[in-house]
Amino acid sequence: MNAPISEDELHAYADGQLDAARLMQVETWLAGHPERRAQIEEWRSQASQLHRAYDRVLDEPIPARLIPAANASRWLDASKLAGVAWLLFGAAIGFFLRGETLRDPAPTQIAASLPRQAAVAHAVFVPEVRHPVEVGADQEAHLLGWLSKRLGAPLKPPRLEEVGYRLVGGRLLPGDSGEVAQFMYENPAHNRLTLYVRPAAPRQADTAFRYARENDIDVFYWTDSRFGYALSGNTGREDMLRLATLVFKQHDK
């Protein structure tokens, strides 16, 4: 007979801290207790709200005063040689972390709903087996003509073959204030990326790269004078950064 499931174990389940041996038993039990399952979903949604609210701090450049704070340590006085290395490292990491935000971190008018909407659209269509796109890449000219017409400006999906992703096709979606296009890409490992493109708001300022994580989907997004773009995927932040940089560069030309 299985031991009864405790409240602590439900928290551990929600937090992914339950050991494998117990996992199946809790899952089986939850199948018969939808109200407890809903409670777990609620806890998880609290955690993703916290991430939505505070993960952006990870992408902020580190204030300079925090690096000198480290330099002024007693540990440093104890070893001058190491101190030099420390200073160099501090400068390097400062530079690196600054580089990670890629560009101007100033407040902008970009709607933060862009990454959210893109992530939702990603989550909806990426699992599709039979109808991932409306118009396939085999009819690329038709696809681009159609989407460009609906979005009111010429659209050109980036080429990602050099990193192993081929264009699957695209679809038209309703957005907040009109039509939105979604292009889907896939690599031989069947990982899928989506590029979400929506027309720019009037007087929209160009912004370079921003990053958001929405329900386990990594989204890099930016805008230019014509469109807002969001690239979504779940192959990890580093990988997505590399891909988004590639897309960004192609549009920036």
Partner: protein
């Protein structure tokens, strides 16, 4: 990466946690600054077999508790003092953030710490117990109360999500 370099690499996470804990960007960075200073001072005392992250969070926890005792309570802010969110223009988004910050401000301090270390920093329960210097059973009971309380505080204020693509 040497362990000392590892402290620097932890700065972004320390800042995220401090920001959520204090909900004030300047106060949060003050706390991070103090934590880094203290960590480097105490460096020789650090037991290397232990994980760095819980150790840093425990230093931050102690400093924050001391700070609150000394009376500069960065802890509660009225509605008007809530920091204006930088860099997000969508109204729903900043409303959500505002509701969340208000709810966090109303959570008892010890519950908020546990909630953030588990939910945001994703520390194991054992590491949370170590960082806060409390038994793991206490971590679990605080976590449970924090989650119930946060749910009640947010009830009725959250806007439904996933409305964009529904047809």
């Amino acid at each position: 990466m040497s362990s000392r370099d590892a402290i620097l690499a932890e700065i972004p996470r320390l800042r995220r946690y401090a920001r959520a804990l204090t909900r004030d960007a300047d106060a949060a960075d003050d706390l991070v600054q103090e934590t880094l200073q203290r960590a480097l001072e105490k460096w020789p005392l650090w037991q290397r077999q232990r994980d760095l992250r819980p150790w840093l969070f425990s230093i931050m926890h102690n400093l924050h508790v001391d700070g609150r005792r000394r009376g500069h309570r960065v802890d509660f802010c009225g509605d008007d003092d809530l920091p204006v969110p930088v860099q997000r223009a969508s109204q729903t988004d900043s409303l959500e953030l505002r509701d969340l910050e208000r709810a966090l401000a109303l959570l008892p301090h010890d519950q908020r710490e546990v909630l953030l270390l588990v939910g945001l920093e994703e520390l194991s329960y054992a590491d949370v117990a170590r960082a806060l210097n409390i038994p793991q059973g206490t971590v679990m009971s605080r976590l449970s109360r924090a989650r119930a309380r946060l749910k009640a505080l947010l009830a009725g204020e959250t806007t439904p999500q996933l409305k964009v693509v529904s047809t």
